[in-house]
Amino acid sequence: MSNIPEDLRYSEEHEWIRPASNHVTIGVTDHAQEQLGDVVFVELPEVGDEITRGAEFGAIESTKAYSELFAPVTGEVTEVNDSLIDAPEMLNKDPYGDGWMIRIAPAEESDIDDLMDAEAYREHIENEK
């Protein structure tokens, strides 16, 4: 069973969201990286870009396939994890830590409230099987 930290929020597209005082950090879940296999390329937006909840904001390439990334919340990108360009495997090795993808300043606080908690996400994975 994959690792699902209790203190995070989750989207149906298998992203995790870590809220902080004025920004949220976004990454992909352990379950997602297991399904993807070896990640070899990550395409992310640039600082200052606006991303919109439900719209595509980037993509992940693994040796098997490519998967688009859909924004779990709306907001402006404030920081991007550039180390993933040269070390995309961090996304497999440490999905909740060094494998984080972007930080954004959310436009709507309510977006976060709509996300799943750990238990709901666990159920979501079960239902997908």
Binding site: G37, D38, V40, F41, E43, T63, Y66, N92
Partner: protein, 884 residues
């Protein structure tokens, strides 16, 4: 997944934690827990183990098998020979010139074939092939996929792993596509040097299904890393190998492609006469013509092959995937057929000393089916998720010719340039003189020179080489109008005329023959002049038709010591015919003894002569420990009344001609070629000797040799070194008895001392390892270059040498030493014993012995076996002063 087929290794995959997927109705591992990237790199760095038992395997037997296979496959089945090349890439063509599948055909024992096809096409292929069976008598085709399992072991450690587990039999000869039958880890195994990874060291193993798991376990225990289908795909993509259904047969758009749209298919295509009207021949001949034109950048037949599958590197950020559009100047020119990010090891250093590091990087590469008029280096764009990413057509992504590693080729990588000293001409002159002086002192006073093909000339030989006529011309040829007198074209040549006649006399005396041609300026040129003369002679009765080449030649294989100057890849290339049956150069190599691969197996060679009926037999090699069996072969030819010309390229051993080593003409050689600067201690030139008498028919061959020397090979035949050579001939004829015995006894003493020091000396210990001036030492697979460099750093100069079972010079595991030069400087058996100890310290203990080597050399600075300048002091002085 329950109704899917499982290979016998299924339990192993599951217990290793593999992710299993469906592939061609089989349940197969896509990757193991370490993941595709690590599996890819493990194959490139160590050895990957692949379960490929899902591939379809058909056994074809019966007297009609060859005819049947020649009809339904594209390659030339007659070229298969378990002794030489037991496997080949091939394709199953359609009548329209498309591909039903691509495949590998194996022949481990005569008249029995194994066809390996893609798993997903097995049923289709079986039905297709069965459709043709009715037209052939005495052919049986069986599907043996389930009774025999198949594993691939690929990567730099694969050879060592198999060697460790080898109980009986041998691994295949060190050439791609060779095969053997052996027992590996107690399992009867058929082994082939084939694979789908681009690894220069790689094997595919066929084993009875009920014994296969044992073999898997043994290979894993020796360090082979299980690799899934994911990495199998990235490895083959990096190697530029096509996958049926994407890059071959049917493209990523689902469209059928002409077979030669995939350039690699050309390797598997033959129009040999023996193939008759095979399936698709007419269409494929048209494609072949179109392909040739496109390669010549003539696009007049592009309608036949509108698009081709090419290797493409993605220059910008992004991953090209199967189906991505390829654009050139905004216009669609094709699609990506296979593409992904592949990992590679970062390479440190450059050239022979470059090493793969533990660091890895990822690069985005693909194969794309694009317009045939797009050429290498052209800039294109690939549409990746709506973005146009720059890409460039490249010749390849990986090179396999430098074992043990496959080397990634990064399209925009430039090797570092070596700096040259800068300055104006006067500055450069000073620097050049200084460096020449340093080099001379180093090689002549501080180094132990052990390269067997090198020699220091005596002071008088050296001096004469640079006196006048060193800057002159003296072209001449004999004329029948003047009773075969030599007619010179220029004035001022009376002296050199006399020198050449004296040289002729001295060399005839030395070689024991009647004719010598001395105008060739190297051993290689001597060989080329003889080969060219052979062609001239063979065509002597018909001067109007296109001349034919030498039909069948026997020689030493390059890996067994044969020199490039008598190989199809070297000087023989333009003179040897192609064997119509195998479509390879019609060269047949002397069989060698299994227990001593440095020695020709005489009984087997005589059998081969009866079978091959060669027109031309070439003895001689550059890795040479033994005499060549000239007398035995001559006797056999005479007994059988076979008309073959026997040549002995004595290159290395020319200076040993005589009763202590071998007398080639007494033994029955027709011609001897050689270079005059190895054991023969003359200037750097070549010679050709012949035994022909003027009254015999064969004398026409000798006349052809003279014509092919001049005007065929040289105009200016380097008169200075010719003069020097005459001096060396006097020295040789005068001193040869003591010189030759000393060289031969020193070589044996050196070999024994190296062995006693603990080093692994190659050859037969019964004869003290060598019958020549050479000694060979095994230092470990692939370690030759590094150790030879280390010895050089310690003032001991030799060369690294690939041993008979090794794949090439980059994995050379031997050192080659020659004692002749240091023998001339006075070294005796005890001195070579001392030297053996010093060499041992470098090879085994990596000790710094520079001072010891230098000190040893300082005791041997005086060149012997030559006339002393002191005895001719007056003339020496005058000549010396005149030079400068």
């Amino acid at each position: 997944m329950s109704d899917m087929k499982k290979t016998v290794f299924h339990d192993r995959h599951v217990s290793l934690g593999a992710k299993m997927v469906e592939f061609g109705r089989w349940e197969m591992p896509i990757s193991y827990p370490n993941g595709t990237v690590e599996e890819h790199l493990a194959t490139r760095r160590t050895a990957g183990l692949f379960d490929v038992s899902h591939m379809g395997r058909f056994r074809i037997t019966g007297r009609g098998a060859l005819r049947f296979l020649n009809h339904v496959l594209t390659n030339n089945v007659e070229a298969l020979d378990p002794r030489q090349q037991g496997s080949q890439y091939t394709l199953i063509p359609t009548e329209e010139g498309g591909a039903v599948d691509d495949a590998y055909l194996y022949c481990f024992v005569p008249d029995e074939y194994l066809l390996v096809v893609n798993a997903s096409n097995t049923e289709k292929d079986w039905e297709h092939l069965n459709g043709f069976l009715g037209g052939f008598e005495d052919v049986t085709m069986e599907n043996v996929t389930d009774e025999e399992s198949m594993l691939a072991l690929q990567g730099p450690n694969s050879r060592a792993i198999l060697e460790k587990l080898l109980d009986d039999g041998l691994l295949p000869e060190p050439m791609r596509n060779s095969v053997s039958t052996a027992a590996v880890a107690g399992t009867p195994t058929r082994v082939a040097r084939t694979g789908y990874t681009g690894e220069p060291l790689g094997f595919e193993l066929f084993v009875p299904a009920n014994r296969a798991v044992e073999l898997w376990d043994a290979l894993v225990a020796e360090g082979a890393v299980p690799v899934g289908l994911g990495a199998r795909d990235t490895l083959r993509l990096e190697a530029g190998l096509p996958l049926y259904g994407q890059d071959l047969g049917v493209n990523s758009q689902g469209e059928e492609m002409p077979l030669l749209s995939t350039p690699l298919a050309k390797v598997g295509l033959s129009f040999a006469a023996g193939k008759g009207q095979f399936v698709g021949r007419a269409a494929l001949e048209k494609q072949f013509e179109a392909f040739g034109r496109i390669m010549r950048r003539d696009y007049s037949m592009m309608d036949v092959l509108p698009r081709m599958v090419r290797s493409v590197a993605v220059a910008g950020r992004g991953v090209a995937r199967t189906g991505s559009k390829v654009l050139k100047e905004g216009k669609e020119v094709g699609h990506v057929t296979s593409g992904t990010m592949v990992p590679c090891c970062v390479v440190e250093g450059h050239g022979l000393e470059s090493r793969l590091t533990d660091e890895k990087k990822l690069r985005s590469i693909c194969l794309a089916h694009i317009d045939s008029d797009i050429v290498e280096d052209e800039q294109m764009e690939i549409e990746i998720r709506g973005k146009k990413v720059p890409a460039v057509v490249v010749p390849y992504h990986l090179r396999s010719e430098a074992p043990p590693f496959a080397r990634p080729i990064i399209f925009d990588h430039e090797p570092p340039s070596k700096d040259l000293p800068q300055g104006d001409e006067p500055t450069q002159v000073r620097s050049l003189l200084k460096k020449s002086l340093e080099n001379h002192v180093w090689r002549q006073k501080e180094c132990i020179n052990l390269i067997p093909s090198e020699m220091t000339t005596s002071p008088m030989t050296s001096l004469l080489s640079i006196t006048d006529p060193s800057c002159r011309y003296a072209e001449h040829r004999s004329s029948k109008a003047f009773y075969d007198e030599e007619i010179f074209y220029y004035q001022g040549t009376d002296f050199i005329d006399e020198v050449e006649r004296m040289l002729h006399e001295e060399l005839c005396k030395f070689l024991g023959c009647t004719e010598v041609e001395t105008r060739v300026i190297s051993g290689q040129m001597a060989n080329m002049a003889v080969f060219s003369a052979m062609v001239d002679y063979l065509n002597r009765t018909d001067r109007k038709s296109e001349p034919r080449r030498i039909a069948r030649i026997m020689n030493n294989h390059i890996a067994k010591g044969g020199h490039l100057s008598a190989q199809p890849m070297g000087a023989l290339r333009d003179f040897v015919a192609r064997d119509p049956q195998t479509e390879r150069p019609a060269v047949f190599n002397f069989p060698v003894l299994v227990e001593n691969p440095f020695k020709i197996d005489v009984p087997k060679t005589l059998e081969m002569i009866d079978e091959v009926r060669p027109e031309f037999i070439i003895f001689g090699k550059s890795m040479v420990l033994h005499r060549e069996p000239v007398a035995a072969v001559r006797r056999h030819l005479d007994d059988r009344k076979l008309d073959a010309v026997v040549m002995y390229d004595m290159a290395h051993v020319l200076g040993l001609v005589g009763p202590h080593f071998q007398e080639p003409f007494k033994e029955g050689a027709d011609m001897v070629t050689g270079s005059t600067h190895k054991t023969f201690y003359g200037t750097q030139r070549g010679i050709i000797g012949g035994r022909f008498e003027e009254n015999e028919e064969r004398y026409q061959l000798w006349e052809a040799v003279q014509r092919r020397a001049f005007p065929g090979s040289t105009s200016n035949h380097h008169l200075g070194t010719l003069l020097g050579l005459l001096m060396a001939c006097y020295e040789m004829n005068y001193f040869k008895d003591s010189y030759q015995t000393k060289v031969l006894s020193n070589a044996k003493a050196f070999a024994v001392a190296l062995k006693d020091s603990g080093l692994d000396v190659a050859g037969d210990p019964e004869i003290d390892f060598t019958e020549t001036h050479q000694v060979l030492v095994r230092v470990g697979y692939g370690r030759g270059p590094e150790i030879a460099r280390r010895l050089e750093d310690n003032n001991i100069v030799c060369n690294y040498q690939a041993m008979p079972d090794e794949e090439g010079f980059t994995v050379a595991g031997g050192l080659r030493f020659g004692v002749s030069e240091m023998t001339r400087f006075g070294m005796e058996p005890d001195d070579f014993k001392e030297l053996a100890g010093i060499i041992h310290d470098v090879v085994v203990s990596d000790k710094d012995v520079r001072d010891e080597a230098k000190a040893l050399r300082q005791r041997f600075l005086d060149l012997g076996f030559c006339f002393r300048k002191e005895d001719y002091a007056d003339l020496w002085q005058d000549l010396h002063e005149l030079i400068g």
